[in-house]
Amino acid sequence: MSVRTLPLLFLNLGGEMLYILDQRLRAQNIPGDKARKVLNDIISTMFNRKFMEELFKPQELYSKKALRTVYDRLAHASIMRLNQASMDKHSALYTTDAIKGFIQDSPNILHQVDETFQQLTEIYGGLSAGEFQLIRQTLLIFFQDLHIRVSIFLKDKVQNSNGRFVLPVSGPLPWGTKVPGLIRTFNNKGEEVKKAEFKHGGSYVAAPKEGSFELYGDRVLKLGTNMYSVNRPVETHMSGASENLAAQTQESIAPNPLAKEELNLLARLIGGMEIKKPSGPEPGFRLNLFTTDEEEEQAALTRPEELFYEAINIQATQDQQTNEELARIMGEFEILDQPRRSASKGDDLLAMMDEL
């Protein structure tokens, strides 16, 4: 498998997570400055230089179990499956574009993101189509057998009710692919001697132009952009997915010490987790990933028993000074109104990831 997959996976999934969080923050009318702070903190953590250095080192992908535990809710929001080898590059760039949109007021973080972008283009810009094909195949192995249905995909008719993604047989072609239908015959001298057409069955159009890889450019494609930017209610259906999850947990329920170790490595790289008690006069806020509290409760109820991790409370940062020491993964959120139970560091990470 390709050893260049982890940065793409992490950045794309992280980006998707940011889209969702941004949408939820807006939907619940969290005050603008608080919302911006939250996103800034996450992005600043995601693009932390030391972490990025580690991330970009050639390495095998984290085991599916480990990363799946971390990005459980995030994985089903990724549109990775639809990406072509050549589109993967653009998708990562688009996500970076949107992330820059979130942090446009913070020059420091913007600088971090630009640096990461440079690294992205350095490493991935030089890869051949064949290497991208291998990265793509590696990523697809990661998402094999998940089948989680997402309401926004079902609504947009991007996903069928059986979980399979819709593959349209019309629309623009990738840059460099011609519209199917032509058969050209040549003689020994290389001169065209015959031209024939055949019915290929789809209705495609050629790509208008190649997407830009520049720091700021016209990407041409929509892959990687924010599906939630149009204001609409976003439900996270657990009913169908929970059956899948239950089925999956049956086979992979054995605790995997390797997964925990990998997650602890991730935590160490990011700088560990400091869970602060609420302090200061301003209260923290509670973020609900479901449209209503009832749905949230319902989801909690229908959740497979085995997936009940211990939940922790995380408060949004109030103190400006804590910004520097902030190396928390994805900032601090109070997700569920559950009292914090004691847990080891590895379990904390799992729990917190999961609650997001």
């Binding site: 050893v3 072509q84 080898a85 051949s128 189509a129 692919t177 011609k178 050209r184 040549f186 290929h200």
Partner: protein, 334 residues
């Protein structure tokens, strides 16, 4: 026209690899064997003519040094003069089994050697040529194994240098009996094709350069090379000279598999655009130039096809696998 036949269920879904379906047609008992890669395991199953599954077996990639469980890149039956072997390539090495997968007769571990950590190390591309089995490598090298008529005494006889990028596929056809006849083609990630003549020492006859896209799949029939490319094109070349004779804008996405029905010169092309096309290859009466005619196109809705094969030598039926699909789809002509 083709109609959908009953699908054959798989224990595990198919992985998004190219050439991810191997079919062995056994005249005895009218059985057909299918082989599909799931990820770290490959599934073999045999089915009766109506598609009723009879027996199945799962094979695992052999562990070796490394952190994560090794992934299989390809599974393929090799029909040799006196025996049939099943070959499995992975990120650790090459495994060869008796044709039903019951006994492993040979294991060749990959030597990561001078690969930097940055490159993925794997074997990929499997074909039988006479009493040899040829297997491609991530380095571009092609290993040639000499296979005895029976028993496990398999020997690595030669290492062919022709490619600089990972090998994707290998195609062979029986030598036509004359000298200097090309009977093997190897393809790689850069789109380069190398044309060889087999023997106690394989000879590189000619090279056909790529044009910036990988060539994931290649076939060889009566001196005609059929190559499928990452931009959806199928190109037909004269094997002896390397001259391009036909260029087909066949698919809207990367081609993932090609297959041949040698009795009738039919070519099957499958791609991630959900389409499977069947073509008829021939030689023109005047001049003997390669010609091609489109016979049939089949859309497999919402399926990212990753493997496709004819199921009989006359090309009247074929089977298809799709990424993340836990069944083999079958089609036969009406």
């Amino acid at each position: 026209m083709f109609r959908r036949e009953r699908s054959i269920p798989l224990r595990g879904s198919a992985a998004a690899l190219c050439n991810n379906l191997s079919v062995l047609q056994l005249p005895v008992g009218n059985l057909t064997h299918f082989g599909v890669v799931h990820g770290p395991s490959a599934q073999l199953l045999s089915a009766a003519p109506e598609g009723v599954p009879l027996a199945q077996r799962q094979l695992q990639a052999q562990e070796g040094a490394g952190v994560s469980p090794p992934l299989i890149t390809q599974v393929h039956w090799c029909v040799l003069p006196f025996r049939v072997l099943l070959v499995l390539t992975s990120h650790r090495g090459i495994q060869m089994y008796e044709s039903d997968g019951s006994v492993m007769v040979y294991w060749h571990a990959l030597d990561a050697g001078d690969s930097s950590l940055v490159q993925a190390v794997f074997a990929r591309g499997i074909a039988a040529s006479g009493h040899f089995i040829c297997v491609g490598m991530w380095s571009g090298r092609v290993l040639v194994f000499d296979i005895p008529a029976k028993g496990p005494n398999i020997v690595l006889s030669e290492e062919l240098a022709g490619h600089q990028t990972p090998v994707t596929d290998i195609a062979t056809e029986p030598a036509q009996g004359q000298d200097c006849v090309a009977d093997m083609v190897t393809a790689d990630d850069s789109g380069l094709l190398c044309v060889w003549r087999s023997g106690s020492e394989f000879k590189l006859l000619t090279r056909i350069p790529g044009f910036g896209v990988p060539c994931p799949s290649v076939q060889l029939w009566q001196g005609t090379i059929a190559a499928g490319y990452g931009n959806g094109q199928v190109r037909l070349y004269e094997a002896s000279t390397g001259t391009l004779h036909v260029q087909i804008d066949a698919h809207a996405r990367a081609i993932c598999a090609l297959d041949l029905a040698p009795e009738v010169g039919k070519l099957l092309s499958a791609a991630e655009d959900t389409f499977v096309h069947i073509w008829k290859l021939s030689r023109s009466p005047e001049g003997g130039y390669i010609e091609v005619e489109h016979c049939h196109g089949e859309c497999v809705p919402d399926t990212q096809v990753c493997g496709a094969r004819f199921c009989d030598p006359s090309g009247s039926s074929f089977a298809v696998t799709g990424y993340d699909l836990a069944e083999i789809l079958r089609f036969s002509s009406m």
